[in-house]
Amino acid sequence: MAQLSLRGIKKSFKTVDVLHGIDLEIGDREFVVFVGPSGCGKSTLLRLIAGLDQISEGEFVLNGQRMNQVPPSRRGIAMVFQSYALYPHMDVYENMAFGARLMGLDKAEVEARIAQTARMLRLEPFLKRKPRELSGGQRQRVAIGRALVRKPDVFLLDEPLSNLDAALRSDVRLEIAKLHRDIGGTMIYVTHDQVEALTLADKIVVMNLGRIEQVGSPRELYEAPANTFVATFIGSPRMTLIDVARQGDRLAIAGGGSVLVTALPDVARLRIGVRPDAVVLEHGHAEDGFTASVVYTEYLGDNAFVYVRLADNTLMPARVGVNERFAPDAPVTVKLERAAMHFFSAEDGRRLDP
């Protein structure tokens, strides 16, 4: 059982404010991912939950108990570090046994837990090895195993995949997802990679500049981003933002054509967001649609992205079939599907719904 409540959490290091008031509820068995660009405060927030840093202001409540002054080892929380932080002078078995023994478990129980964990993480052949004799992926599993044997209420994972190579990364990602299903604890996972966030999370917390921008399921964030930051952060290639003026039922770029759109928000100027899938490119300049010219094509095997430049100089990716050819500098017309368009305020970037 784990129910976490963060209430008005603030953190400052000397004069620098890093977190400006975080409110967040995390439920039992949830897989929550904190995602955001570097320096957004996501790792700091994780360290506050772990108890490694002091909360400057606000309250952290775990299972109804205020945790602000509880030392890290008494919180029922285990953490997997980005560098794995294995004890270099202990073998794999000792690394896992260390914390379990300190919890006061008897010898048989420690052994049983390690045996079970080693089996689950396929670490049995390595139990007598020192960390430096292991590969990156194996060290990663030991770090996870060390957290598992303590059977904590909450697992914290700080960018656990960032030290692995690309091929291994997707394997380990799958394993972590499976692990969460099997052991069912609450997991909080920090990453700057939105793909990890989308694939793993039940709930994503998008952070920027020490604030939460949006909390929601991967689908909610992708389909209904609350503001332009979330819109451009989630999804790859990024969503394109275009500043347009409203002319009746049409949205126009100055000197660059216009598109007919029904059911618009009631403002004169707005910013629209379009993902590459929602863009239709037609050869030549047409009456209806934004005029643009082709910059280059990115071929990815199963599909391709054509980057086009709109009249206001915005660079915009569009997904096309692999058989379509767009020569550099060729004139094209950009058509948009209404259903796939997002509307944002031109002033503060907040989402506008008609």
């Binding site: 360290r47 772990a50 108890g51 490694l52 030392p71 890290p72 080892s73 008494r74 929380i77 285990a78 953490m79 570090f81 980005q82 560098s83 794995y84 932080a85 294995l86 004890y87 270099p88 002078h89 260390f98 914390g99 300190l102 430096r132 303590r150």
Partner: protein, 303 residues
């Protein structure tokens, strides 16, 4: 290889120090080895006597008991300093590393005595320990512990301890600095990982910090060993060449010096016996230090 530009430079830079080392370090050591096998009449070299000088200092009275007395004091000094200097140094380093209040000031304060000359430290502590006017006895009397005040350097039971404490005060900054450097090399993630598992400082020190700084301990241990068995300046200044009172602070360094060069009270001097002592000290220190270094090196942990 022709002696061209670069080679010439290297030769020119290496030759003088090499000559210096050969003349003032290698030659005296080799010479001492040779001296130890001769009979000496003052500065006059006599016959080649094989191992007689060694035999005399080790087994013939009164030399044998003096040698044993001095040697046992060296052993005592080594273990006492191991606790007082290295042990305390480790704890100080831990306190500095954890950034306890005042860490910034104490980092400098702890190391400052190391920079002082031994002469200054020795005279300073002689003043501190003065039975009547010394700051230690004055303070004891000041807080009503007049019974505890005593002539620290003047009685057999306390004299060697007093020297050891002065030495530890002088040099404690060195192991502190070495241990602190070792601790600062421990990755912060590992420190955080331990904090996630325990809040006991004792467990952190014994199970994580100590094993990880143990490699830096090798050099500290070996240097302490060499220092303890070559100990000379501080006892010479504070206790005099005879290891007063009554030989209770006599150590091999003093004993060797007295035997080889004589002293004010006993003008007798014997280079042969002195050299034999010097050679024995050298062999003993080199053998143990070499063995310990090799042994501890093998156990070092790569971070």
């Amino acid at each position: 290889m022709a002696l061209t530009g670069r080679g010439l430079w290297i030769t020119a830079l290496i030759a003088p120090p090499l000559a210096f080392v050969a003349l003032f370090i290698v030659y005296p050591i080799v010479a001492a080895f040779a001296y130890a096998f001769y009979d000496w009449q003052g500065l006059l070299r006599g016959e080649f006597v094989w191992f007689e000088n060694f035999h005399t200092v080790l087994f013939v009275e009164p030399y044998a008991s003096r040698t044993l007395n001095a040697f046992s004091h060296n052993i005592f000094v080594f273990f006492a300093l191991m606790v007082l200097q290295n042990g305390l140094g480790f704890l100080l380093a831990y306190a500095l590393w954890r950034e306890l209040p005042g860490a910034r000031f104490h980092r400098v304060a702890v190391f400052l005595p190391v920079v002082l000359s031994t002469i200054i430290v020795a005279y300073l502590w002689k003043l501190f320990l003065h039975p009547l006017f010394g700051v230690i006895n004055q303070s004891l009397r000041g807080v009503g512990l007049a019974d505890v005040a005593q002539p620290w350097l003047g009685q057999e039971s306390t004299a060697l301890w007093a020297l050891v404490i002065a030495q530890a005060w002088h040099m404690v900054g060195f192991p502190t600095l070495v241990f602190l450097a070792g601790m600062q090399r421990i990755p912060t993630d590992i420190v955080d990982a331990v904090r996630m598992e325990t809040q006991s400082e004792w467990v952190k020190i014994t199970k994580i910090v100590w094993p990880l700084v143990a490699p830096s301990a090798t050099v500290v241990f070996v240097l302490l060993f060499v220092g303890a068995f070559n100990w000379f300046e501080l006892p010479y200044i504070m206790a005099g060449l005879d290891g007063s009172p009554y030989g209770s602070t006599d150590v091999l360094g003093l004993y060797f010096y007295r035997t080889a060069f004589g002293n004010v009270s006993a003008a007798h001097q014997d280079f042969g016996l002195g050299s034999a002592l010097a050679v024995l000290m050298f062999l003993f220190i080199a053998a143990i230090a070499g063995f310990v270094t090799a042994k501890l090196r093998a156990r070092e942990i790569q971070l």
